[in-house]
Symmetry: C2
Subunit: 904 residues, 2 copies
């Protein structure tokens, strides 16, 4: 005998559990117990713990030996409270058997209702209710559910033709109704239901090879096992994967006395939200059905009626509300709504059943809501005195806040259309526009003020202008950190990448998706937050207008202690980020000026530098390049006046800047007075087998120290000019790809020399911080030495993730997908920091850095700086700031505030 208690009972205004026992009892079980403690009308029942589920799986899918004894003892308690008796021929108790995980997984696991009906109990129930129609209707429902859930799915039977038993029985029901000309289930008579039930049982035997069990006790055990089994059903597993729910949490099982909404017109069933989950308005909001069981509402078999006036809309305003038909019970329900909100301090999602005018509560849980609704409710509840400021801040998930920042597709309209392809949600929000297959076309549309979606195999730096001109971006290849994804996210632009269903034929000007052909100019819609593509024009909504946004962000900043900066390479981006609350720029990439708009002139100079044959030629080209860098730096420093701005010295390998096509190479050769062969040889010499680990970052500045010198001169001169003009530039310069303190010393010697020259020339004193990226594993290991020279660290977690995993982000997208499918990785480490691995290096680097420089400023400027889970990690690792793309700034602020609150 085990000493572990697996069964918790509830009912009769008392319970063994309560709301905060979710981990053990699951959400449903804990809340049923809580409602009992609140003295609400709840049918009695029992909850089998999640620990039992874990034990079941650990025990090779066998129930713990003593479990059923505990269950039958719990059933005895139900019988006492309900005045019924399970498997009793005269006064039978029927029960439901439902899953209930810690975290709601709606529709992902299985439920069986009406358990306990058998040839032994049916006659007594008919006699007692005097309602044979109700009994047979319940019976055929039991057969349909039980055959599906317990006898087929939980046994792992997969029909060869893909047609499950439930579908077969549904077809029989439909055919029967058709044959009689019935439109609704309620038209079927009692004897017809009995006839159907018998036909169902025969079909079950025929298809599944076993009899539908006529033993109530066997039904009970089968139901419990089936619920446990459904925890590892395919649907449930993939849902957990998406939602990040651990596989080992397990589900609880709730066995509860049945109450019946299908006992006639004085019976009903319904679901409701205590406030409007779409808008957040303080309105009771729900749907109900007379003479029905709960599954009818949820499954959408019948169009449900509005609960009350507030719930009426164009589609359902002709239907009767509960407020109208059952005003007394409705009032009772409204009172319960108040009790629940006061108890839970939150908006709740409830399920109820009315059996012969008596109201029963079957479920309550914190309700899901849109971002807008979450914001509205949280602030309303604050003003209603229901929750504290701290709770307000915790009430919005960062993802919900993000929703508010981008124009999005109208989800109601989305539901009306079919998703034709899926990719990775690389840039949030929605976009609708005409297909443009080239950057030229995107620019053309943009000029004509026509919304357009740039559709490409993949993008590269030469496409940046076209990308800016596009309303949204869709690519066939690339991962969450591909070029397209990084650029789009930086701009807050809707973008889907890695959508491998799309097939582009630029010559023909067509795009084929799963065989369907589209032309340039056809309209498509993207849901960039989900990675979904539609071939229709979906309605858009703009959520940024919410006036409560600013109020919420003020509360957020009350609790936030970690700084939030932005990654910005232009004055516009910087200004945009400041508007979103950025307190500085954490990453200004000098090479940005060689991409996109107005890049032609500086890029030409850079190319001259690259193809130079001698140091003199190189220095000449660099001298011509310098003014461009100076101006770019100056413009952004001016916008950030008084706020810190971190410049990163040039990082990418030089071959990224040379033209890739022969035509362009020939043009460049001609321009430079070189033979094509000479130029080609020079370009070929730049070729690298693994460019990610080649001549880039600080290595460039060491091999060609003149490149470093030019950059420092430009930055110092920009600063000196601004000082002269009365501004307050807060210059920070960092070295990328550092592996050793010796690199920093080498570059600093150049900086010191240049600084002196500039200070003498401008008669100013330049104060700046000299720091480094920490993005190579070795840098974290020798961070103590590095910090003797570096005044700040900025973790480059993209590269650090690449090197720590040995994952080239350009190549491993499909590998990561396989790894997630095979449960080898819990998620994409380029999206959410791998705390177990990379996180160790981040912590180590931070600790070691501060061991030699206690006041070392530490930040992050990788993509993870905008990922809420990662932000929390960085906060706990003692970071001074995170830096992220402008549109992620509010999200990072919220994540930082929530991390601080959690730690309080």
């Amino acid at each position: 005998m085990t000493a572990i208690k697996y069964v918790y009972t509830f009912g009769g205004k008392t319970a063994e559990g309560k709301a905060d026992m979710k981990n053990l009892l699951g959400g449903k079980g804990a809340n049923l117990a809580e409602m009992c403690l609140l003295e609400l009308p709840v049918p009695a029942g029992l909850t089998i713990t999640t620990e039992c589920c874990t034990a079941y799986y650990a025990n090779n899918c066998q129930l713990p030996a003593a479990l059923m004894d505990e269950v039958w003892a719990g059933v005895k308690n139900i019988e006492n409270i309900m005045g019924l008796k399970y498997d009793d021929p005269d006064n039978p108790l029927l029960v439901s058997c439902r899953s209930g995980a810690r975290s709601s997984m709606p529709g992902m696991m299985d439920t069986v209702l009406n358990i306990g009906l058998s040839s032994k109990t049916i006659p007594g129930l008919i006699k007692k209710t005097n309602n044979p129609r109700f009994v047979y209707d319940s019976y055929r429902r039991l057969i349909m559910m039980y055959a599906d859930v317990v006898m087929e799915k939980s046994e792992g039977i997969e029909p060869a033709d893909g047609k499950g038993i439930r579908k077969r029985l549904d077809d029989m029901l439909d055919k029967f109704k058709e044959s009689r000309g019935y439109k609704s289930d309620t038209e079927i008579a009692a004897d017809e239901l009995l006839e159907l039930a018998n036909a169902f049982k025969a079909k079950v035997k025929e298809v599944l090879g076993t009899e539908f069990p006529d033993d109530a006790r066997a039904q009970m055990e089968g139901g419990i096992k089936a619920v446990f089994k459904s925890w590892n059903g395919k649907k449930a597993i993939s849902y957990r994967r998406i939602e990040g729910i651990p596989d080992d949490w397990g589900t609880a099982v709730n066995v509860q006395a049945m109450v019946f909404g299908n006992m006639g017109d004085n019976s009903a069933t319904g679901v409701a939200f205590t406030r409007n989950p779409a808008t957040g308005d303080n309105q009771f909001y729900g749907e109900w059905l007379v003479n029905a069981q709960g599954e009818d509402v949820v499954a959408g078999i019948r169009t449900p009626n509005p609960l009350n006036d507030d719930t009426k809309n164009e589609q359902n305003k002709h239907l009767h509300s509960m407020q109208e038909l059952m005003p007394e019970t409705y009032k009772e329900l409204c009172a319960i709504r108040d009790i629940l909100e006061k108890n839970y301090h939150d908006m709740l999602d409830i399920e109820f059943t009315i059996q012969e005018n008596k109201l029963y509560m079957l479920q309550c849980r914190v309700g899901k809501r849109t971002g807008v609704a979450a914001l509205t409710m949280a602030l309303d509840m604050l003003h209603e005195g229901m929750i504290s400021e701290k709770e307000v801040v915790m009430r919005l998930t960062p993802a919900q806040l993000d929703e508010l920042l981008h124009p999005i597709l109208d989800s109601a309209d989305e539901k009306m259309h079919k998703v034709i392809a899926k990719g990775l949600p690389a840039g949030p929000g929605g976009a609708v526009g005409k297909i443009a297959l080239t950057c030229e076309k995107a620019l053309e549309y943009n000029k004509a003020k026509i919304n357009n979606i740039l559709v490409r195999e993949e993008t590269n730096p030469e496409d940046v202008e076209g990308m800016r001109a596009a309303t949204g971006i869709l690519t066939a290849r690339g991962g969450m950190t591909s070029h397209a994804a990084l650029v789009a996210r930086g701009w807050g632009k809707c973008c889907i990448v890695g959508c491998d269903a799309i097939d582009i034929n630029i010559a023909a000007g067509t795009l084929t998706i799963h065989g369907e052909k589209f032309k340039e100019g056809d309209i498509i819609s993207l849901n960039g937050s989900k990675g979904w593509v539609y071939d229709k024009e979906i309605k858009m909504i703009d959520a940024t207008e919410n006036p409560r946004f600013q109020e919420f962000m003020r509360l957020v900043d009350k609790f936030r202690t970690m700084g939030v900066r932005t990654n910005a390479d232009t004055p516009e981006d910087a200004q945009n980020a400041v508007n979103f609350g950025a307190e500085g720029v954490g990453l200004f990439r000098i090479e940005h000026m060689f991409y996109g708009k107005n890049s032609e002139a500086p890029l030409a100079k850079l190319r001259n530098m690259i193809v130079a044959n001698t140091t003199e030629e190189r220095v000449k080209a660099l001298n011509e390049l310098e003014p461009y860098i100076r101006e770019a730096a100056k413009g952004t420093l001016k916008v950030m006046n008084g706020k810190p701005l971190t410049f990163r010295l040039m990082d990418p390998p030089l071959h990224e800047f040379v033209p890739q096509t022969e035509e362009k190479q020939r043009a460049l050769a001609k321009d430079r007075g070189l033979t094509y062969e000479d130029l080609k040889a020079r370009i070929d010499a730049l070729h690298e087998v693994n460019p990610m680990m080649g001549l880039r970052g600080v290595r460039l500045g060491i091999v060609y120290s003149e490149i470093t010198e030019t950059q420092f001169r430009a930055l110092f001169e920009a600063t000196a000019e601004l000082l002269t003009e009365g501004y307050d530039p807060r210059l920070e310069i960092m070295v990328p790809l550092t592996i050793s303190v010796t690199e920093l010393k080498h570059q600093k010697a150049i900086a010191d020399r240049v600084q002196q020259t500039v200070e003498e020339k401008f008669h100013v004193k330049i104060h700046y911080l000299y720091g480094t990226m920490i993005e190579i594993p070795r840098a974290t290991l020798v961070a103590d030495e590095i910090a003797t020279v570096a005044e700040f660290f900025s973790f480059g977690t993209n590269d650090l993730t690449q090197m720590t995993f040995g994952f080239s982000r350009d190549d491993v997208n499909s590998i990561i997908n396989t790894y997630k499918d095979e449960k080898i990785l819990p998620n994409d480490p380029f999206n959410t920091l791998d705390q177990q691995g990379v996180g160790q290096l981040v912590k180590l680097g931070t600790e070691r850095g501060r061991s030699t420089r206690p006041n070392l400023k530490v930040g992050v400027c990788g993509e993870h700086g905008g990922d809420p889970a990662s932000v929390e990690f960085f906060f706990n690792a003692g970071f001074n700031y995170v830096s992220c793309s402008p549109f992620r700034v509010p999200v990072a602020r919220l994540a930082a505030a929530q991390a601080a609150i959690k730690k309080m």
Copy 2:
């Protein structure tokens, strides 16, 4: 006043220092002190410590304030012992001023002799010696040395025409001799020497702008400073770089009373080794010159005479030996030889001077020797009872042992020829042969039994057969871990890579080196241990025949505790390694069978697998491939019978195995019944931006689990067959590129399934070890988890170095060279493990692994397994074994033994 003692005196059978104070006094100073303590005749002197040198540099190249006072106090001691007086007009003491670092740096730093000669002391010295010729000869030598060392080099003067003062004065001397018809310096008369000295002083003034100092005290200070300065001379720095001597060690300065070998025919000077440094024979071996100063012997200005009969050879047998001319003094010297060897227990390199029949010892130090000599001496001294077995083992450096294992160029013959190009010493030993520019040519030569050198831009796996056929390999590109280097080292084949001076024109069949053109068939010679190329046929010697080698290795294994295995992919390599003492195979790369000889058939099957469109096609191709893997595995398991053999599952990305040329691709397409376009598309899809971090290693086995299944089946069946045949196969299988324990579990599930099938088929029980490579930084961080499944770790320090540094070994060769030149890295981390960075991860991984599996077996199979410094590190990190290429096995055994002895 500083409390630090900077000056240590010696002389008169006593000394303040002794032999074990080398760090403070430098080698020379410590040994001079030791010889005094041994009561040998040593001219008195003083040593200025290396700490003073460090202080000098720390103090912006200023001598510590109190130093000269200490020096003059020391000089007083010299005066007392020698009965002379510095700067005295009647009885002047002259001194030498010599460098002396901790570790010998012969010829790299500067020396000034005869310091103290001035217009004040010259007349008195002439009067005293009655030998004006000697005095003026000493004076002109002082001027020549002092002007060069103190006045020019140490002042950082670099003559515009590159012609230094020393060269100018040498020219004057030559011209003078020419004008008089003198053949030898000794013919120059006293007055002529005075005339020359005056002319020298005028030239010095003219060229350098300052007067040669006529003040003995100024000369002393100048000499000391110049020696300190020479520590940072270009020659010294580059020597330190090569020898791995830290820059901050500094040099000591020895100021010592001059004794004169140039006072006539009863005076002489000489150098000797207490045993033959080339052969190790127990013969006193040296050279001497009558009436000369030490520099004359060392500088090779005059052909020196043999010291004794044992030293006579074809070139010098007509010259008189000291044994003949000064038998008494020679006997005295022989006695000193015995005293020194008994004291030092080693072969010594000594310098002596005879001044008017009186013998003085000027230097003794442990003598440099060849590998053969080191071996012979060590064993002789053991048998003579002079040293212990432990000392024998410590007496050979691993590099010396390595010398013994390869046929090498005869260094005497090498000296006669010019090195025409230099590259990286990728494969040790020497090779002489005809130039082959293609593999076909190399094979043709090989068939005709003609030694040949394969000269290529770089090599790739398709060249392996040609590489095997070549006597030596020379490539223009690639680093120490490039394909050519790895393969050649694996075979112990002489190989030079990255020799960028060579320019190959295959069409013309020519090779151009620095403008000189060679044809195929011309003979060149390679010194693969140094990376030197000759355009002549250099003589070869084979050192492997030494019968003492086995005796030495038996002693080595007495002390060795860590295992040594080999990397081998064929029965031949494995057998070779066993002969060299390998105790197992640490790395058998399954993909090896797709390279080189007999690879066509399995490679064709592999390609079928790669171009397969469906899983069925892939499985079919794999089934056809399996027998090849099984046979390859079985052959080597048989050779290793009873010894462990670790197979690594396939590691490289699939695109490495598809043909690269269009022609071959078309042939493959035709063969596979595909269109060229289809095949090309398939090959293009395999393309990766950074293949090093893409779809390879265990990722292949997860994406295509059938590849894993085939390999396990082949390995298990090979084992099962051998068990059936009565063999004792010790199978170990490891997974490459692991980042998470989940990968190991995934692959193990496949292995378990296959194992059961094979065991049932063969009715045997297979025992094997399941382990993993640890070669990705993340693996070291989660090694505790990984070790719950892995039964052993094999560190892949090549890849671990790549990822920890973010260095692609295919791309960063020139970067690493720049980094070494700029002192950013101390050495190439692909040659010697970066203990500071990568080493931390190695230790961490080992500790964490053993935290969950205390008896975890840990080894290394990267290139570092054969690097002595790295072997010592692995020993100290608690490794069970290292694995290296067969020819490195003895070296690794020695390094492991030495590490164990050091730790005792």
